[in-house]
C-alpha cells in the first residue's frame, strides 16, 4: 500500500514537472523493464554487411496492457556506421533504422511482428514474439562499396520504443510516463568482414 502510494506520488510529481521531463533527453528508468542489446555482430556476405543481433526486450506493465488492448507497439532499431577520426568527431557513413511493429491479434490469440520491410510473422505467445523480435538475423546494413576504409569502422546500435508511432491520445501519456521510456544504450561493435 505504502509502496503504491509512493509510486503514485512519484508519477504525480513527474507529471507536475512537465517541462523538465519533456526536455530530459535520456531519462534513467529505474523500472525493471528495459531493452538491452545483448550481442551484436556484423559479417560481410555477398559484398553486403549484415547485422546479427540479440536484443532482450522486457516490456513494462503499461506497455503490456496497451499491447493486449490491441495497441501496436513499435520498436525502432537504429544502426549507425561511423568512421572514427582522431582529430574530429566520428564521421557518420550510413544510418539505417529498422522498425518492428508488435501487435496482438485477438481472433487468433497470436502476436504479430511486422518489420518495416513488410515481413510479418506470427507468434503463439508474447514471450516467443519478443524473442523473435529480439533476433535480428542477416539484416543488410551497408554495401561494401560504400565503405572506403572498413578497417576502423564501428557500428552503433540502439533500440527504443517509438512513442511517436503510438495513437495520438496515448502520446502525451507516453511522453510523461517512464513506463513508456524503453530505450537501450548505444551498443558498439566493430564492422567486420
Amino acid at each position: 500500500m505504502h509502496e503504491m502510494e509512493s509510486k503514485h506520488l512519484h508519477i504525480f510529481s513527474r507529471q507536475i514537472v512537465l517541462l523538465a521531463l519533456l526536455l530530459m533527453l535520456s531519462p534513467v528508468s529505474t523500472h525493471a523493464a528495459g531493452v538491452t542489446i545483448e550481442k551484436a555482430s556484423t559479417r560481410l556476405q555477398n559484398s553486403v554487411y549484415q547485422l546479427n543481433a540479440n536484443i532482450n526486450y522486457e516490456l513494462s506493465d503499461e506497455v503490456l496492457e496497451a499491447l493486449n488492448n490491441g495497441i501496436a507497439v513499435t520498436m525502432q532499431v537504429t544502426i549507425k556506421i561511423e568512421q572514427p577520426r582522431s582529430y574530429l568527431w566520428d564521421q557518420l557513413i550510413a544510418e539505417k533504422s529498422q522498425r518492428y511493429e508488435l501487435k496482438y491479434h485477438a481472433l487468433s490469440g497470436q502476436y504479430l511482428v511486422k518489420t518495416s520491410a513488410g515481413e510479418q510473422r506470427s507468434y503463439l505467445s508474447l514471450a516467443s514474439a519478443l524473442r523473435g523480435l529480439g533476433q535480428i538475423r542477416a539484416l543488410p546494413i551497408l554495401e561494401q562499396a560504400q565503405l572506403k576504409d572498413p578497417q576502423d569502422a564501428m557500428v552503433r546500435i540502439k533500440t527504443e520504443l517509438d512513442t511517436n508511432a503510438l495513437p495520438a491520445p496515448l502520446r502525451p501519456v507516453a511522453w510523461l510516463s517512464s513506463q513508456w521510456k524503453l530505450s537501450s544504450d548505444w551498443y558498439l561493435c566493430p564492422l567486420r568482414y
Binding site: 512537465l18 517541462l19 519533456l22 526536455l23 496492457e65 496497451a66 488492448n69 490491441g70 495497441i71 491479434h105 485477438a106 481472433l107 487468433s108 490469440g109 497470436q110 504479430l112 511486422k114 513488410g118 515481413e119 510479418q120 510473422r121 506470427s122 507468434y123 503463439l124 505467445s125 516467443s128 523473435g132 511517436n164 508511432a165 495513437p167 495520438a168 491520445p169 496515448l170 502520446r171 502525451p172 501519456v173 511522453w175
Partner: protein, 730 residues
C-alpha cells in the same frame, strides 16, 4: 538598454497579444494533432514545448508586472492602489467565468468520452469474436483429423520423393500449402500449388517443440499478404529410423466470406478495444489541452488586466501627480493627453487650468515685483530725504516713516509702527509738543504748516512741520502725510545774521557821529564855561554834561550791540556748572545792596560742554538783570539759584533756575522777552536777555522766562549734558 527593451517587451500590448495569438494557434494545431495521429508526430512535442514556453513567458511577464506594481505600491506612487484594485476586479471577472467553463468542459468531456463506450457493445464484440472462433474451431478439428491421416501417408516417403506425395495430398485435401519439416525443423519439401515456394511459411518455433512433445497444432494464423489461414501441424509417424521427428504443416485457406467476416470481427474488436484502452489517455490529452487553454486564457486575461488597468489609471495617476505638483506650487506641469475620451477631456482641462494659473501667477509675480521695485525706489528716495517723512492713518497711527524722521526726532520709530502717535508722546516726553501740535492740526483735515520748538537730548530743536491729507487714490483712506525739517541751525543762523547786520549798522551809523558829538560838547564846555556868567555857565555845564553822559550811554549801547554782533568762535569744553556759579556769585556777595543769595546746587552735577567765558557772561547778565529789577522795588532783594540734573526719557540735561523777588515780567513783553530791544526796565538796552538767549542757543540749550506764582521773575535754562559724562562720573 537591454533592460528597457525587456521592460517594453514585458509591458507592451503587442508582444502579449502576439504571444497570446501564437499560443492560441498552437493550441488549435495541437487539438488537431490529437485527432490526426499520422501527420503530427514531432510537431506535437514541439507545439507542447512552445506552448509551455509561451505560457512561461506570459507568467514571467505577469510576474514582472506584479513585481513592478508591488514596488510602485511600496514607494507610494499615486495610482498604484487604484491599479491593484482594478487588477483584482479584472482578474476576478476573467478568472471566475473561465474557471466555470473549464470545470464544465472537463466534466462534459469526460462524460462525452465515456458515453462512446457501452458495456453491451463490448459484450457483443467479445461474443462475436468467440462465435468466430467457435465457428472455425469445428473446421479446425476436422482439418486436424484429416491432416493426421495425411501425415500417415507421408510417413514412409523419403525426403526426395515426398514432394510428389505432398502435391497429391495438397490437391486432395484442398490445402493451399503443404510443407514437410525434417527432424531438425528444416523444410524437407513443400508444395504450394502452382506457385514455386521458395520460402514456405514457417511456424512459430514453439510449435516445433510442441510437436516434439507429441502435441499437434491446429490454429488460425494471420499470415502476411495472405491474411487469415488455418495452420495444421502434425507429427509424422515414425516408420523408418534415422529420419528423426518429422512434422507436416498444412495451411488451409478459409472461405472468402469467412475471411472477410473474421477480418471484420478482428478489426472491429481490435479498434474498439484500442478505443476503450485509449479512453483515459484521450481524456488526459483533452484535459491537457483544455488546461493549457485555460491557463492561456487566464494568463492572457491577467496580462490584459494589467495592461487595461495601467492604461486606465495612467491618466489618473498623471492627474494625481499633476495635482500634487500644483498643490506644491509647481504650475508648469503639463500632462500628456491619453486619448480623446472623458479622461482626455479632464486632462486637457487640467492642463488649461494649470496654464491659466501659471499665467496669472506670473502676472501677479511680475506686478508684485514691480510694486516691490517701486517701493524700494520710494524707500530709497524717502530714506535719502533730509526731511523727516511720516504718514499717519485715519486713526493717527504711524504708517510709514523714513530714516530722517527717526534721526530728526532722535527716536527709533520702528517699535511704534502701527501705533498711535500718542504713544510717541508717552514714550518720549520730549516729543510731547510735537505730538500735541500734530494732533491739533490733524483735527482740521486740511493742509497745515507749523513751526515747533522741542527740547531734547541734542538740545533745542526747531522743526518746520507740514501736514497734508493724502489725495488722489488714497484720499478715502484718510491718511495724512507729515513732512518736517530740523531748521534749528537755519533759524539761528538767520537770526544771528539779521541781528548781526542790525548791530553792525547801528555801530557803524551811530557810533561814528557819537565821538564828534561828545568832543564838540566837551569843546563847547571847555571854551565857553569860563567866559560865561555863572548862570549861563551852569546851564552850559549841565547841558554839556548831559550830552556827554548821553553820548557815553549811547556808546555803551552801541558797544553792546557790536558785542552781540561780534559772535566770536565758541570754545566748548567740559566744565562744572556749580563751580562756575560759585565763582560768579562771589563778585556779588560783597556788595552793600543787601542782596541775599540762596544757592541750591545739585551735588551730583555732571559736566556740561560749554564755553566758560560765555557762560560767565550769561550768568552776569541774568544776575545783573535781576538785581536791577529788584533795586527799583524791593527793599530785601533776594536771588535764589538752583541747579538740577534732570532726565527726561533718554535726554539728560542740566537745569539752571534763577529766581528773584522783583516785580516779575510785565505781561506785554513776556512773549518777546528774548528778542533784542525788548525791555521792561527804563534805560535798559534790551540786549541783556537777547544775549543770554543767544549764548544758550549757541550751547544747544533752551531758555524760558516766567513769573513765579509767589511773585518775582524766573528764568529757566536747560543745557545738554556732556554725552560721555555719565561714564566719566562712574
Amino acid at each position: 538598454m537591454s533592460l528597457t527593451i525587456l521592460k517594453r517587451l514585458t509591458s507592451g500590448p503587442l508582444s502579449a497579444a502576439v504571444l497570446s495569438v501564437l499560443l492560441l494557434l498552437s493550441l488549435y494545431i495541437m487539438s488537431g494533432a490529437t485527432e490526426d495521429s499520422a501527420s503530427f508526430n514531432r510537431q506535437y512535442v514541439l507545439l507542447l514545448i512552445s506552448i509551455l514556453v509561451g505560457l512561461a513567458m506570459l507568467v514571467a511577464m505577469i510576474a514582472a508586472n506584479v513585481f513592478r506594481l508591488y514596488k510602485r505600491y511600496k514607494s507610494g506612487e499615486p495610482g498604484s492602489l487604484l491599479t491593484s484594485r482594478l487588477l483584482v476586479v479584472f482578474v476576478i471577472i476573467a478568472v471566475i467565468p473561465v474557471s466555470i467553463v473549464y470545470y464544465f468542459s472537463v466534466d462534459f468531456l469526460h462524460r462525452g468520452i465515456d458515453s462512446w463506450f457501452d458495456v453491451r457493445i463490448e459484450k457483443a464484440l467479445d461474443d462475436s469474436l468467440e462465435l468466430s472462433r467457435s465457428t472455425l474451431d469445428s473446421r479446425l478439428r476436422d482439418l486436424l483429423r484429416s491432416t493426421e491421416q495425411l501425415a500417415v501417408e507421408v510417413a514412409d516417403e523419403s525426403e526426395a520423393s515426398a514432394i510428389l506425395r505432398l502435391d497429391d495430398l495438397r490437391v486432395r485435401s484442398g490445402a493451399s500449402e503443404m510443407t514437410l519439416f525434417d527432424g531438425n525443423s528444416i523444410v524437407a519439401s513443400s508444395s504450394a500449388g502452382d506457385k514455386i515456394v521458395i520460402n514456405p511459411n514457417r511456424p512459430d518455433e514453439a510449435i516445433f517443440s510442441d510437436i516434439s512433445r507429441g502435441r499437434n497444432y491446429a490454429g488460425l494464423d494471420a499470415i502476411a499478404d495472405v491474411g487469415l489461414q488455418i495452420r495444421i501441424m502434425v507429427r509424422v509417424p515414425l516408420i523408418r529410423a534415422g529420419l528423426g521427428v518429422r512434422s507436416l504443416q498444412a495451411l488451409y485457406p478459409v472461405t472468402a466470406r469467412q475471411k472477410e467476416l473474421a477480418d471484420s470481427v478482428q478489426e472491429t474488436f481490435s479498434t474498439y478495444n484500442e478505443l476503450v484502452y485509449l479512453r483515459s489517455p484521450l481524456k488526459y490529452s483533452f484535459t491537457l489541452i483544455l488546461t493549457l487553454a485555460l491557463l492561456l486564457s487566464i494568463l492572457s486575461a491577467v496580462w490584459a488586466a494589467f495592461y487595461t488597468a495601467r492604461k486606465l489609471v495612467s491618466p489618473i495617476s498623471d492627474l494625481a501627480k499633476g495635482t500634487a505638483a500644483v498643490a506644491s506650487g509647481d504650475y508648469s506641469k503639463r500632462l500628456p493627453l491619453p486619448a480623446n475620451d472623458e479622461l482626455g477631456f479632464l486632462v486637457q482641462s487640467f492642463n488649461q487650468m494649470t496654464r491659466r494659473i501659471e499665467r496669472a501667477r506670473n502676472d501677479a509675480e511680475l506686478s508684485r515685483h514691480q510694486v516691490d521695485e517701486q517701493q524700494a525706489y520710494q524707500a530709497c528716495v524717502l530714506s535719502n530725504l533730509s526731511s523727516g517723512v511720516i504718514t499717519l492713518d485715519a486713526d493717527r497711527c504711524l504708517q510709514t516713516f523714513n530714516e530722517a524722521a527717526s534721526g530728526i526726532l532722535s527716536v527709533d520709530l520702528e517699535p511704534l509702527y502701527g501705533k498711535s502717535i500718542k504713544e510717541l508722546a508717552t514714550l518720549h516726553s520730549s516729543l510731547g509738543r510735537f505730538v500735541e501740535v500734530v494732533w491739533e492740526q490733524l483735527d482740521k483735515h486740511e493742509q497745515w504748516r507749523e513751526e515747533i520748538t522741542l527740547f531734547g537730548a541734542s538740545g533745542r530743536q526747531i522743526l518746520v512741520c507740514r501736514g497734508v491729507p493724502m489725495t488722489g487714490a488714497l484720499e478715502a483712506s484718510g491718511d495724512t502725510l507729515i513732512v518736517f525739517e530740523d531748521v534749528t541751525t537755519l533759524v539761528q543762523a538767520q537770526r544771528n545774521a539779521a541781528w548781526g547786520e542790525v548791530a553792525r549798522r547801528l555801530a557803524h551809523e551811530i557810533k561814528n557821529p557819537l565821538t564828534p558829538i561828545q568832543l564838540s560838547a566837551e569843546r563847547l564846555r571847555h571854551k565857553y564855561l569860563d567866559t560865561m556868567d555863572e548862570e549861563s555857565s551852569q546851564v552850559l555845564d549841565k547841558s554839556t554834561h548831559t550830552i556827554v553822559q548821553q553820548v557815553e550811554a549811547m556808546k555803551e549801547m552801541v558797544n553792546a550791540f557790536s558785542e552781540y554782533a561780534r559772535a566770536p568762535q565758541i570754545k566748548l569744553e567740559a566744565l562744572n556748572l556749580n563751580t562756575l556759579i560759585d565763582e560768579v556769585l562771589d563778585l556779588y556777595r560783597d556788595e552793600e545792596t543787601g542782596l541775599s543769595i540762596k544757592l541750591s546746587l545739585d551735588p551730583v552735577m555732571p559736566h556740561v560742554e560749554a564755553d566758560e567765558g560765555r557762560l560767565r557772561q550769561l550768568l552776569h547778565n541774568l544776575i545783573k538783570n535781576a538785581i536791577e529789577a529788584m533795586q527799583e522795588q524791593t527793599s530785601h532783594p533776594e536771588i535764589s539759584i538752583r541747579t538740577l540734573c534732570m532726565q527726561e526719557s533718554k535726554c539728560r540735561y542740566v537745569e539752571l533756575r534763577i529766581d528773584d523777588n522783583g516785580p516779575g515780567w510785565s505781561c506785554d513783553v513776556q512773549s518777546e522777552l528774548f528778542e533784542p530791544y525788548v525791555t521792561s526796565k527804563q534805560g535798559g538796552t534790551g540786549l541783556g536777555l537777547a544775549i543770554v538767549k543767544k549764548i544758550v542757543e549757541e550751547h544747544g540749550g533752551m531758555v524760558t522766562a516766567e513769573d513765579r506764582p509767589e511773585g518775582g521773575a524766573r528764568v529757566l535754562i536747560r543745557l545738554p549734558v556732556l554725552h560721555s559724562d555719565g561714564q566719566e562720573e562712574a
